[in-house]
Amino acid sequence: MGTRSTVSILCSLVLLTACGTVDEVRSARLEQATEFNQRGQRAFQRGEYQAAATLYEQALQIDVAIENESGIAINTLNLARVNQVLGKTALTQRLLDHLLEDKALRYAPAHLAEAAVQKALLRLQENDTAGATLWADKAVAFCESDCRIAGVIDNVRAGIALRANDADKALQLSERALSANSDVPLERANALRLMASARLMKNEAVAALNLTEEALVIDKSLGLPEKIRQDLLLSAQAHEKLGQAELAVQCRDRAARIAATALK
């Protein structure tokens, strides 16, 4: 067989291989669920939480109908998150329990870890530090290797330590969270805020003020009203500790104006 023939056969094989690339088959239903999910994401980013909840519900309904386990987990978590923002704590609990206690379907550990973290946050919101610690530990257990939310778990634990008035532990955990979340602005700002709170607890008001200002810049860039308000309240506390009553009043006034918009 000559060189030309060999080359021709090889070229044909390459061409045939290229033509034979099988595209992943995605059903129209799956595409519809994806569309609802993406519209939900956009609504959430715009702060239209009720609309986002409706869209996630529609996506979830389709995912359940076609038994798309990944989609079910993702949209249940999203729905829980939106309901948490909307203040519907009981519904959030039910959704997370549904995911964590499901015996029929097997969800990815990463999704279960996220659900456990959300449970820990709910417990913490209700000042149940023991419950929060339990769920944070469960989250770590689910999240064994290549844990994408390790930094988030550290922040949750820092939050638990703050509630337990353990400033040193809170500072240590939030510093670790800060380095773990260098590329996640939301969690980076959370870590800075937690560090500021820990510093305030240790009466290090200047350091706290610097950290809060850093967090404020990030939260403003992300456009998160509730987080901006929290930053301003922390700044006010720092100014008070520094004896700068007027500046503290200004910060509280700014925080009150944000609260008056009722945007989260």
């Binding site: 290229a18 595209d23 569309e35 994401q41 999704h111 996220e114 959370n190 987080k227 309240l233």
Partner: protein, 299 residues
């Protein structure tokens, strides 16, 4: 030894040439068969005709559609001795039973910028279906540019009317007269109040004012009548334009929708093609980022 070898090579060459020729003929036949299939040579069809004063917008091979589906094509366009145009349309037998003899053929544009097609407008269900060599009535649909041109042509007189009404001075004059009359009337009443005892004189003035009003009111009524006539004419024109366009607008909207859908399907197909599919990753469901912060209770 050389001669048999040469003969053998000749024989081999002849065989290869034959194979090549056979292959080429097979490919040609396949292409011809595909063209024939495309031209509906393999499907049974019924020929019908329609006549039109001119062949503008019509072309051989043009699609013939019925409720949005292709049911045939234009086969021939011939000029008749009386300078009319005879158009032969081939309809798939599969759809012939749906088309009554009182159906109409209409030349329409598929979309604002789409191709022209001949659309069969269904006739009455009771009438017999079309048969070989049936003749359909033909009409030209209005495309977007014609609708706009008609709209412009019909708006022109309305605008002229409005301009005439506002610039003729009728309205201004009427208002001026009314103002003058009411001024006189007011003056008269004042005088009547002031003079009291000289009531007769004042009454005379009232009478005078009333006379002025008597003169002004008929003029006012006449001018109001003219104005109302103009407004009525304008309203009639607007109604006519709306009625003329009403039939075309749903078709334009439907065609635009079809065009968008076709565009989406084409884009989807291109995205899925093996050359480009690596550039367009399929969207996937995404989860919201977890927010690991709970605000402390406020003091």
């Amino acid at each position: 030894m050389k001669l048999p070898n040469y003969n053998q090579r000749l024989l081999s060459m002849e065989t290869r040439t034959k194979r090549f020729m056979l292959g080429a003929i097979a490919v040609m036949l396949l292409v011809l068969a595909m063209i024939a299939a495309k031209q509906d040579y393999f499907s049974r069809s019924t020929a019908i005709y329609f006549f039109t004063p001119n062949a503008q917008g019509l072309s051989k091979g043009m699609a013939v559609k019925f409720i949005g589906f292709k049911v045939g094509s234009v086969q021939e366009i011939n000029m008749e001795p009386n300078a009319t145009v005879r158009v032969k349309v081939s309809l798939d037998d599969e759809y012939v039973h749906l088309i009554g003899q009182d159906a109409k053929a209409r030349l329409v544009k598929e979309a604002l910028v789409g191709e022209s097609v001949v659309e069969i407008i269904p006739g009455s269900q009771q009438v017999k279906q079309v048969r070989q060599n049936s003749v359909l009535e033909f009409e030209r649909g209005q495309d977007a540019s014609t609708v706009v041109e008609n709209l412009a042509a019909q708006l022109q007189p309305i605008l002229s009317d409005i301009h005439q009404i506002t610039s003729s001075g009728d309205i201004q004059q009427t208002l001026k007269n009314l103002n003058q009359a009411s001024g006189t009337f007011r003056q008269t009443v004042n005088e009547y109040t002031q003079l009291g005892a000289n009531g007769n004189k004042a009454m005379e003035r009232i009478n005078s004012s009333m006379e002025t009003l008597d003169k002004a009111i008929p003029k006012l009524v006449d001018k109001a009548d003219t104005t109302l006539d103009n407004v009525q004419a304008a309203t009639a024109d607007i109604k006519k334009i709306t009625n003329d366009s009403a039939g075309e607008i749903p078709s334009l909207v439907r065609n635009a929708n079809a065009l968008v859908q076709d565009g989406q399907e084409t884009l989807g197909g291109v995205k899925r093609s093996w050359l480009l599919n690596s550039l367009f990753t399929a969207p996937e469901e995404q989860s919201l980022p977890v927010d690991g912060y709970v605000a402390p209770p406020q003091p």
